[in-house]
């Protein structure tokens, strides 16, 4: 029962994404915009850019994720889909996990694939790229899971844009610190593995706890 439901939800999300492909491009375009504007603002000077490249890429990913956070459950709450999720014979937390995974796969994953090219735009030193990719691969799903809890908490409110940002900020800061920290450690010739392991540990904890917390928040928000 768990897998057919997950598959049905994935198919539905991909179909919806395709029907609204213009909207779906928005996070990716936003991240591209941030990166390009940074490159222009810093004057295209290779040395200055190389120093901040990894931080800019992290910020672009984080902000793009934050931008699309509000759409995670809002549409499903407004048309009553969430009610049916709650009544389905599969755990709500499982559906939340699948939905969050799809959200990550459609907003963060394309950016992750584009990171080498965006890095080139910012003169990212090539030896930093593997660490940056590893940190992003661990950090962006963690951001999505934390974001899912925040989005679930605010799903019952009419307008929650500013609240989502305020609630997500303190949760996002440690991820950003360790994520960007691992890359700058590598740049200084230090071992980045400690920060990466902390991100991985955070991801494992969030994979277990975040769907449960988000599901509980949805039940409260819709009652």
């Amino acid at each position: 029962m768990m897998w057919p439901a997950a598959k049905a939800l994935m198919v539905r999300d991909l179909l919806l994404l395709w029907r609204r492909r213009g909207d779906a491009l928005q996070p990716a375009l936003f991240a591209l915009l941030v990166v390009v504007l940074f490159a222009l603002a810093l004057g295209g000077e290779a040395q200055a850019l190389a120093k901040v490249a990894s931080a800019v890429l992290w910020l672009a990913m984080l902000l793009a994720g934050l931008l699309s956070l509000d759409t995670l459950f809002r549409g499903d709450a407004e048309d009553g889909s969430l009610e049916q999720w709650m009544l389905a014979p599969v755990p709500l937390s499982w559906l939340v996990l699948v939905r969050t995974f799809m959200h990550w796969a459609t907003t963060a994953l394309p950016l992750l694939v584009a990171t080498p090219f965006l890095g080139e735009l910012l003169h990212l030193p090539h030896d930093q790229l593997p660490v940056l990719l590893a940190a992003l691969a661990l950090g962006t799903p963690l951001l999505s899971l934390l974001g899912a809890v925040v989005a679930a908490l605010t799903v019952g409110m009419r307008r929650s844009g500013i609240l989502v940002a305020l609630l997500a900020l303190p949760l996002y800061v440690p991820v950003l610190v360790f994520g960007a920290g691992s890359v700058s450690a590598a740049a200084q010739g230090l071992d980045p593995i400690g920060a990466l392991l902390l991100l991985a540990a955070g991801l494992v904890v969030a994979l277990v706890l975040a769907p449960l917390a988000a599901a509980a928040a949805i039940r409260i928000a819709l009652s």
């Binding site: 029962m1 057919p4 439901a5 598959k7 049905a8 939800l9 198919v11 539905r12 179909l15 919806l16 029907r19 609204r20 549409g75 407004e78 048309d79 009553g80 889909s81 009610e83 049916q84 999720w85 709650m86 009544l87 389905a88 014979p89 599969v90 559906l95 819709l222 009652s223």
Partner: protein
């Protein structure tokens, strides 16, 4: 239950069920039971708590007091989700998906009644030929019919129908009655809320009238 001497426990039973919102009582305490093959017509004026009662029974809201039994066992979430299909005010349809795509998703979520397919269900509710029409292009009545198709496909024995006749034409009202009749004949039960203006399905029916609590 004088006319029904079977010893099987009722499909749904509530004892002393009550619900209050911000300390203001909405309904209850209520006692009622519905056997398999029976319909319970929940009547009451606007604001009498019909929708709230159905949401409590479905498990979307937590009752303040009282017990709910399904098939003689306390209604835990896992039991409810298998036993109950809920048709609420919100259609749970994605506007950008076609009728068939919507049904396919909801079937994947809730499971499917043996021997029924989404295509056959669309035929039953009179939406044959609308398989690929986006839900946003359907009229309110057609959306209701699509929700009824979802209900028809659900494998749950207990239907909770909140205003099932709303938005429907005469033919649609007959459709609801026929569906309820067929469902009851196959051993299911149904709770219907209505404010009394519509013809009830021609089945064994109990009544529950909600009034505003004093």
């Amino acid at each position: 239950m004088p006319e029904h001497p079977s010893t099987a426990p009722p499909l749904l039973a509530a004892r002393g069920l009550s619900f209050a919102r911000n300390e203001a009582p909405v309904f209850g305490p209520l006692d009622f039971a519905v056997d398999a093959g029976e319909a319970l017509l929940v009547q009451g004026d606007n604001g009498a708590g019909k929708t709230t009662l159905l949401r409590v029974l479905a498990g979307l809201l937590q009752a303040d007091a009282g017990e709910i039994d399904i098939d003689g066992r306390p209604a835990k979430i896992s039991l409810r989700s298998r036993a109950i299909a809920y048709l609420g005010h919100l259609p749970a349809l994605k506007a950008d998906l076609g009728a068939l795509e919507n049904l396919n998703f909801l079937c994947g979520l809730h499971g499917r009644r043996r021997g029924q397919t989404p295509v056959s269900a669309l035929g039953i509710v009179g939406l044959a030929g609308y398989e690929d029409t986006l839900a946003r292009q359907l009229s309110a009545g057609q959306k209701k019919r699509l929700s009824l198709a979802r209900l028809w496909l659900a494998p749950a024995p207990l239907w909770l129908l909140d205003e099932p006749y709303a938005n429907l034409d005469l033919d649609g009202i007959n459709l609801v009655n026929r569906m309820v009749q067929a469902h009851l004949r196959s051993g299911g039960a149904a709770l219907l809320t209505t404010h009394g203006a519509y013809a009830a399905p021609p089945v064994r029916t109990r009544m529950l009238t909600l009034g505003r609590p004093a």
